[in-house]
């Protein structure tokens, strides 16, 4: 069991090292001739106007909130789905109620316009 996850660790290590090897190979052969024009931020050939790191659309935040709610739901649903066939009808009805509450939540978000992109 623990050995399995040590294997996952090996995957992680090699996955992290491999791009470094690729970049090192490229570093050996590529030219390096920077100039101020080359290093300027790309904006279709014009000078950049104003700062980039500004406030962004509120819709992104609303989607993120709804995402967190439903993502937590999936964490609860997975153990239930694994044991579904062993569980009684009671557990099934209980889960329908749980999903029902979330559907009401989705309906509320829908009604309040949190799902609109404007």
């Amino acid at each position: 069991m623990l050995q399995n996850y040590a294997g996952v660790g090996v995957f992680f290590l090699i996955a992290a090292i491999f791009p470094l090897i690729l970049l090192a190979t490229a570093w050996l052969v590529r030219p390096k001739r920077p100039s101020p024009e080359k290093l300027s931020t790309y904006e279709c050939g014009l000078e950049t106007q104003g700062p980039t790191w500004v406030q962004f659309k509120i819709s992104y935040f609303l989607y993120a909130l709804i995402f967190v709610i439903f993502d937590v739901e999936t964490v609860f649903l997975y153990p239930w789905a694994v044991k579904f066939q062993a569980l009684t009808l009671f557990a099934f009805v209980e889960m329908i109620i749980f999903i029902g509450i979330l559907v009401i939540g989705l309906w509320y978000a829908w009604k309040e316009g949190a799902l609109e992109w404007l």
Binding site: F11, A26, R30, Q85, F92, V103, W110
Partner: protein
């Protein structure tokens, strides 16, 4: 033929054991060898997937596609790789250098880690985790972080917009994707990849869960940022999305990760819905490759056939159509299983 790679693995394992290493060390080195083999498989596939994609798009648009470098243009992508290695690596002055550099590495880690639980053939899973599917979903969702890092670190307006859109889209479409898999889990009663394949011995889950497959396919297309859901890198408005400022090998790593994710997603679809690596007459790993390429062809076909959809339609499709549909699918599956149990 069937046990070709398994015998090869066993041979290496016995040779390692004969060197007098401990059991843990041998198994870890075996995993490392498997990762190397998987990396080779993925890189080779990506090399020819790019060629395949260009050829398919060309034939769909009645062009010839790449046909100059090598016979029928087969060496085109190889030459592209050589060109990319020798390209200058430009990091803009205004960029957040640390985040910018790290993003290219972060995007590649999940792209490789996904393959830990992919069954390449009968008994050919690198690590048969007992939470296999869950692991796949958890790792694949971390790709978003890399795109946000790339978008934010570039300090470029196109990149930031692209990064934001990528996160919003991938995060949204993850929910129907995860819900569509739930139906399969309910039928199997296990998250282990080998159990899911064993459960499909008689009938593939695409027959029992056609709606789930459809949701999975649509959400998968969106997760991979492919057309018709390629808004994060819509060329006409955002140049190249989050990767606008990247060049040379650093850009190539993003490209590599994108196609690696495509192969992984197709492999997951094959495992969950198309019976996994099994079929008559030929070895299971050949069937795996055939089925994965059918899925990849489907993704490519869709990409070059449908126009890009609008950003508000993108979100509406997800939250107001796919999400309720996937919830309904879970309910119908649950009721179906209970009725089936009642009668048998």
């Amino acid at each position: 033929m069937e046990r070709l790679f398994l015998n090869l693995g066993e041979g290496i394992q016995q040779w390692l054991a004969s060197l007098g290493l401990g059991a843990t060390a041998v198994s870890l080195i075996m995993v490392a060898i498997k990762v190397a083999a998987i990396l080779g498989f993925v890189l080779l596939n990506v090399l020819y997937l790019v060629y395949l994609e260009r050829k398919i798009s060309a034939y769909i648009q009645q062009r010839l596609g790449p046909n100059r470098v090598g016979p029928r243009g087969l060496l085109q992508t190889t030459m592209d790789v050589i060109k990319l290695i020798s390209k200058e690596d430009i990091i803009p002055q205004a960029a957040d250098r640390k985040v910018f550099r790290l993003a290219a590495i972060v995007v590649f880690i999940p792209a490789v880690m996904l393959y830990a639980v992919i069954p390449f053939g009968k008994d050919m899973i690198a690590i048969d985790l007992n939470i296999g599917v869950f692991y796949f979903i958890a790792v694949s969702s971390t790709t978003t972080i890399a795109f946000l890092m790339a978008g934010w670190g570039s300090n470029n307006k196109y990149s930031l917009l692209g990064g934001m859109r990528t996160v919003a889209q991938m995060v949204s479409y993850e929910i129907p994707l995860v819900f569509s898999i739930l139906g399969v889990i309910m039928l199997t009663g296990s998250l282990k990849m080998s159990d899911i394949i064993a459960a499909q011995k008689d009938v593939w889950f695409i027959v029992l869960q056609p709606i789930a497959f459809l949701i999975f396919f649509i959400a998968g297309t969106a997760e991979l940022n492919r057309a018709p859901f390629d808004l994060p890198e819509g060329e006409q408005e955002l140049i190249a999305g989050a990767t606008t400022e990247y060049s040379g090998m650093r850009w190539a790593i993003f490209f590599l990760a994108e196609y690696s994710n495509l192969v992984a997603m197709s492999a997951l679809a094959v495992t969950l819905f198309l019976g996994g690596p099994s079929g008559p007459w030929a070895p299971s790993w050949i069937w795996f490759v055939i089925k994965v390429y059918i899925m990849i062809y489907l993704f490519m076909w869709v990409r070059w056939t449908f126009p890009r959809i609008r950003v508000d339609h993108l979100m509406h499709t997800n939250w107001k159509f796919l999400l309720p549909l996937s919830l309904a699918n879970i309910l119908v599956t649950g009721i179906g299983i209970k009725i089936f149990e009642w009668f048998s």
